[in-house]
């Protein structure tokens, strides 16, 4: 009996804890915007989600972030919960271009507008608007710079992201669409490092055993580029092997400044997040026609222009302190 009482008290206590976590609701009940993001296990998406949520709050709405943990069925739960608990719009970063279609259609059926950020869903009439990062073109630009820096010849390694991720292949295809035209640029190894810094370091360490004479490494994101750089430092090859990344993460921007890695492709998560939140705001105010697809350019960052950039974006004119 005593034991049961104890557990009961514990239960009450944990409900109290949940109550404490609940945000205070204001009396006038502002409209609510849900931010459903594919994962919060990667700083890039944390940044995207936080900026979207912050912009929604700035525009006077209540906002909550849902983390799908790269799991499309968890994403379905989030959509159902968001619709059921009366969210009026969804700023959405899909887990999967195909798998997320059903979720978007679910929201549409409940007449909740969906604004996609960064990643697209493969349907033209589901989302109200899709604000997308142009990974493919970004990697074409990166490939062009790669060819130039390599003087059209040499051996290189490609580190892919998660092989189950659309972005991995968009980036790889963009890069190869250009680089493969140069027969003297030889890819000696293509391996996956799951977008992970540690994995990239270990994989490159092993690759270096088989191919000690490589000239460059192209990585599908900046975390892998930094891991690859770390492996090159350990092997004493950091000076003559060129590293290329993608994303525009803080570490990579700093590394380009220090001349450690060659280049990255800057995406603009803040622009995408804020545009999505602004569109939702305009939607509430009566605007109904939005561009179905709004590509956001990806910019090449190299030693020449790195001073114009900060982590995940361009320096504002009034942002000179960084």
């Amino acid at each position: 009996m005593i034991k049961e009482k104890k557990y009961f008290l514990l239960l009450i206590f944990s409900f109290g804890l949940l109550w404490g976590c609940k945000n205070k609701t204001t009396s006038e009940q502002p409209k609510k915007i849900a931010v459903i993001v594919s994962t919060l296990n990667n700083p890039w998406f944390v940044f995207l989600a936080e900026k979207a949520s912050a912009q929604a709050k700035k525009l006077g709405y209540e906002s909550k972030i849902f983390d799908s943990q790269n799991n499309t069925s968890l994403e379905t739960d989030h959509f159902e919960n968001a619709i059921a608990s009366g969210f009026n719009a969804i700023l959405f970063n899909p887990t999967d271009a195909e798998g997320s279609v059903a979720n978007v259609m679910r929201a549409k059926a409940a007449s909740v507008p969906v604004f996609c950020m960064d990643r697209e869903v493969n349907t033209t009439d589901g989302a109200t608007s899709q604000i997308l990062s142009d990974s493919y073109s970004g990697c074409v630009a990166l490939g062009k710079y790669f060819v130039e820096k390599m003087n059209k010849q040499g051996k290189y390694v490609e580190l892919l992201g998660l092989v189950s991720d659309n972005n991995t292949w968009n980036r790889s295809k963009g890069f190869h669409s250009l680089v493969d035209h140069y027969p003297n640029l030889k890819m000696v190894a293509q391996q996956s490092a799951d977008f992970d810094r540690n994995k990239a370091m270990e994989v490159l360490e092993s690759i270096l055993q088989a191919n000690p004479d490589i000239d460059a490494v192209f990585c599908g994101n900046d975390a892998m580029a930094m891991g690859a750089y770390q492996a090159l430092v350990a092997a004493g090859k950091a000076d003559h092997v060129k590293v290329f990344g993608f994303d525009g993460a803080e570490d990579a921007v700093n590394a380009i400044k220090d001349g450690k890695i060659e280049a990255t492709a800057m995406q603009f998560p803040q622009v995408m997040a804020e545009t999505a939140a602004r569109y939702a705001d305009e939607y509430f105010k009566g605007k109904k026609d939005f561009p179905k697809k709004m590509p956001v350019a990806v910019e090449l960052v190299t030693e020449k222009n790195v001073d114009d950039y900060i982590a995940y974006g361009k320096k504002e004119p009034d942002q000179q302190k960084k």
Partner: protein, 334 residues
């Protein structure tokens, strides 16, 4: 009567069987190495050997703790998250210290202080695992699954989801330095392995660990304080995961909020390939080390041979399955 049974043929068979099991993972390793070296002339080099040893050192740290846990018939799924949190705490304290705005207080941390704080974090989480498992009879699978999520959540809170980088050369030395021609992470994992072998084979604590896994009720009746041993085992597992976290963080010069995801599976795989029974009571640290080496050599070899990433997962899965199948066939013979 039991004592008399010592030299019967059956018990000799048992002894023979268990030494054969050890033998088998060793044979598997030799075959694996021979195959890879036939296909790639870059495999059998001193450089690559250190490379593999350095890469598996983190898994060896974790898997050693996991072996102790599995020997008590438990499991620890939280080690990957504990590794991430310990690494993040160490990196955060080293780089930023603690600021308490209310008291206008700033506490800076030395290298040693930050490392100790990271280790304590790991040990504390491990002790928490042990406490819920023994005090509230939560099954180890569930208790440590919960801590997997909790520790990952705290890692996110502490790092705010962003990596903590640029930790200084002294700290980087822990993971990248060499001492007497051997990489430091290999020293660290080697010392841990030797200590664990001594503890499991030569101490009363080690015998109790086996006894609990063999037959918990019998162990309890013979007067062993089961709860205390179990809490100690989970605390050690947490502490070793924290050491792994500090090595990873130091090697990368950066604490990643998503570090260590699925590391628990690599550790469990090493333990199982090494012939330790998931139902407890049977197995050895050296077996686990062999298991970790097999996984490391496999990872390394598949990359050296530039096998497609899709196929790598298939191959790894089959090797684990094969190892356990051999082990099962073996234990049936006992």
């Amino acid at each position: 009567m039991q004592a008399l049974a010592k030299s019967t043929p059956e018990s000799n068979m048992k002894k023979y069987g268990s030494s054969l099991a050890k033998f088998q993972s060793l044979i598997a390793l030799v075959i694996l190495c021979l195959t890879i070296s036939l296909l790639s002339d870059k495999f059998f080099t001193v450089d690559n050997a250190w490379n593999v040893m350095r890469q598996i050192s983190v898994n060896i740290c974790i898997a050693t703790g996991m072996t102790l846990v599995v020997l008590t018939a438990g499991i620890d799924l939280s080690v990957g998250s504990v590794l991430a949190l310990a690494g993040a705490i160490t990196a955060g304290l080293l780089r930023n210290g603690i600021e308490i705005p209310a008291g206008n207080l700033y506490i800076g941390f030395t290298l040693l202080g930050a490392v100790v704080a990271g280790l304590l974090t790991g040990a504390l989480l491990g002790a928490f695992n042990g406490w819920t498992i023994t005090r509230f009879k939560v099954p180890p699978f569930v208790a440590t699954l919960a801590v997997l999520t909790i520790a990952r959540g705290f890692t996110m809170l502490w790092t705010k989801g962003f990596p903590i980088s640029s930790l200084g050369e002294n700290f980087a030395f822990l993971g990248t330095g060499w001492f007497l021609g051997i990489p430091l992470p290999v020293w660290i994992s080697g010392i841990i392995v030797i200590a664990a072998v001594v503890v499991t084979n030569k101490t009363r604590f080690g015998r109790y660990v086996y006894a609990i896994g063999g037959n918990e009720n019998a162990a309890k009746l013979s007067g062993i304080n089961i709860n205390r041993i179990k809490i100690a085992v989970y605390t050690i597992a947490g502490g070793l995961a924290a050491i792994g976290g500090i090595i990873v963080t130091s090697r990368l010069d950066s604490a990643q909020p998503n570090a260590g995801i699925t590391y628990e599976l690599d550790a469990i795989a090493a333990v199982v390939i090494g012939g330790t029974s998931l139902s407890g009571g049977r197995g050895s640290i050296m077996g686990t080390v062999l298991g970790a080496i097999i996984i490391g050599v496999l990872n390394n070899g598949l990359v050296l041979l530039n096998v497609s990433p899709f196929w790598q997962q298939v191959v790894k899965g089959f090797v684990i399955l094969l190892a356990v199948m051999i082990d099962k066939a073996n234990s049936k013979n006992d």
